[in-house]
């Protein structure tokens, strides 16, 4: 049995009387895409905020490479190798690709904070890293504002990997993108997976996208894990059923029909 890169055991998070997560277990492996699925309010966001150090757990334990971790800040989590790419991406549109890539972690000669930027070296590294991940930006000095949504997502992923992420948490990377750009992001995910040394936690609402790239699934509902497994073990119907939080499609159809009748009665 391979040692998981991240092991989460009976993780609990409460907000006052509200239990957001009620004892979550999760194993994340290197070289795998782990799809984290669940309806709104299932606890996905709380879980990734715990993993990325934004929240502290009220119970349970997170292990990274077997070592128990206590994250006090996002900085701690990123030092431990957990890189989170949020929906809003943390990019600055007016600044160049290079300046965004090295934002807050610039290479310089001299002393902080007035060290001279090693611009050429940074341009070169940015260009190379972007080619590695599959995008040939003609000019790393172009503003990020000129890039497409998919390219920006890819830039944020490349940046996280370059600065030492062993686990990439992608928070709905394909939402708010056009179809072609969604495919671009999925291609990026597949390429990163191909390196074999990085684990990807892929949060999505899109069943098709998860089927295209995921190796393993975990389904959350009402703060608990309600199912999961390797992709080859799960049938399509089962995925949809678990994604909806365990509601049967037949029930939904019935409820819809009932609702239709109600409106009809009001109108007449």
């Amino acid at each position: 049995m391979v040692e998981p890169l991240i092991r989460v055991r009976s993780l609990v998070k409460q907000f006052g009387p509200f239990t957001a997560l009620n004892g979550i277990d999760l194993d994340i492996y290197r070289g795998e895409v782990h799809a984290l699925l669940g309806d709104n309010g299932a606890g996905k966001s709380t879980l990734i905020r715990l993993l990325s150090g934004l929240y502290r757990p009220d119970g349970g334990q997170i292990f990274v490479e077997g070592k128990p971790m206590r994250f006090r800040s996002p900085r701690d989590a990123s030092k431990a190798g957990i890189g989170t790419v949020y929906q809003e991406l943390a990019l600055n549109p007016l600044m160049s690709v290079t300046r965004n890539f090295f934002m807050g972690r610039e290479l310089f000669w001299g002393t902080k904070p007035f060290g001279l930027l090693r611009m050429q070296e940074m341009d070169q590294i940015t260009h190379e890293e972007m080619i590695k991940i599959g995008i040939d930006i003609s000019d790393p000095r172009q503003a990020v504002g000129t890039m497409s949504g998919g390219q920006r997502q890819t830039l944020a992923i490349a940046r996280a990997i370059y600065f030492g992420a062993k686990v990439l948490i992608l928070d709905e990377p394909t939402s708010a993108l056009g179809l072609k750009q969604q495919m671009e992001v999925l291609k990026t995910i597949v390429r990163v997976r191909g390196r074999g040394d990085i684990a990807i936690i892929f949060i999505t609402h899109n069943e098709l996208h998860s089927k295209l790239v995921a190796d393993r699934y975990t389904f959350l509902a009402l703060g608990e894990v309600i199912g999961g497994g390797l992709s080859e073990e799960l049938a399509g119907e089962q995925v949809r059923h678990l994604m909806a939080g365990g509601v049967e499609m037949k029930d939904l159809v019935k409820e819809l029909a009932a609702a239709r009748n109600e409106t009809f009665r009001h109108a007449s």
Partner: protein, 378 residues
């Protein structure tokens, strides 16, 4: 024309959509090009209308005197605006700093610590103004209020304090007839003395710069020209070539994403409020040691001129983008127009404000189009 459905020999990639441009087109993309063209037009127009007197030995000195004043404070305002904040207290800070120095020079150090020299008066004032800049920055950062309203409060507060101190200690809101410190003290001469004497000597030796009796006419430029060049050069270097510069851009562009990437956005902003206070203090020191006077009304409305010059120089009102070189061009343009009345007696001096208003509007529209071009229309 290939029929629809056939394979295209070279597939188009996303990168192709950004047009590759040559040298001239790149020049057109520079944010300061518009200001540069306006500056050239103003220089030519004033040279022509004044029959060259605006650019004779005395004209250059007088023009650069006001240009340097504008340049010093506009550079500070511009860097702060790139980081996404405003400082409306610059003008009142100039008045406060001038009052503080002149009062110490006339009435001695506070708490009866004996007479003050130019160095002690300047340094104590600088410590106070930097502390005020720190205070303004800290309030803005921790209250999360708009810097517009916080610095507006300090605009009134500092002007009021300046007047109260003047009347309370000096019985009058102005001080004049201080000793001419720049004659004896090198420290005072650094602010109030002359610079570039070698250039004016050279000009005389080459046959220009002669007065009616055939001797050298003008001896040099004001010392503040050196301060302007130094402040602008350092600001340019910091903004475009250093790590701090990257932080300033990042803070103004999108503060939250800068923070998420570990940029110390609060320190950047507090530091820049201290920098505008520093610029205001240098402005005041040059004025006090040059004229040996101070007045409670000094620096009035200078904060708005500084912001106008920063905007005309290509600094975005919304932060994240700006050019120190463009601000220098803007300072030259505004200084020349403000001074034009002395060389062209036929015009009304108030046309200066008409010009500022028109330029400001044009610049805001131009800057917006530059911003749209570099962000792809967001």
């Amino acid at each position: 024309m290939a029929p629809i459905g056939s394979t295209i020999s070279t597939p188009r990639v996303e990168a192709d959509r950004l047009a590759r441009t040559g040298g001239l087109a790149n020049l057109k993309r520079r944010p300061e090009i518009g200001t540069f063209l306006v500056m050239i037009a103003v220089v030519l127009a004033i040279a022509f209308a004044s029959h060259g007197t605006a650019f004779n030995a005395l004209g250059v000195k007088n023009n650069l005197s006001i240009i340097a004043q504008f340049g010093i404070i506009a550079t500070g305002a511009s860097l702060l605006m790139v980081a996404g904040e405003f400082d409306l207290s610059i003008g009142s800070m100039i008045g406060f700093a001038g009052m503080s120095m002149a009062m110490m020079l006339k009435w001695g150090l506070p708490f009866g610590l004996g007479p003050a020299g130019p160095a002690s008066a300047f340094l104590i004032t600088l410590i106070m103004t930097l502390a005020l800049g720190w205070l303004i920055g800290t309030i803005v950062v921790h209250s999360r209020l708009s810097s517009f309203i916080v610095t507006l409060a300090f605009l009134f507060f500092l002007r009021g304090i300046t007047e109260v101190c003047f009347r309370g200690i000096n019985q009058s809101t102005q001080i004049s007839g201080l000793p001419d410190f720049k004659q004896e003290s090198w420290f005072a001469a650094v602010f109030g003395g002359e610079s570039f004497q070698w250039l004016y000597s050279l000009w005389f030796r080459l046959g220009g710069n002669v007065n009616r009796s055939g001797l050298q006419w003008v001896t040099g430029l004001d010392a503040r020209v050196v301060w302007w060049i130094a402040i602008a050069a350092v600001a340019y270097l910091v903004l475009s070539r250093t790590q701090a510069g990257n932080w300033i851009y990042a803070t103004g562009d999108n503060r939250e994403s800068a923070r998420a990437n570990g940029v110390p956005v609060n320190k950047v902003r507090i530091g820049l409020f201290m920098f505008t206070a520093f610029c205001a203090t240098i402005f005041a020191a040059c004025q006090v040691f040059d004229t040996n006077t101070a007045d409670a009304g000094k620096g009035n409305l200078k904060e708005l001129e500084a912001i106008a010059i920063a905007v005309v120089g290509g600094t975005l009102m919304t932060g994240g983008f700006g050019s120190v070189v463009g601000v220098a061009f803007g300072a030259i343009t505004f200084g020349l127009v403000a001074n034009a009345v002395f060389f062209i007696p036929a015009i009304d001096g108030s046309y200066y404000r008409v010009f500022v208003g028109i330029m400001l509007l044009i610049a805001v529209f131009l800057n917006e189009s530059v911003r749209k071009r570099i962000t792809g229309g967001i």
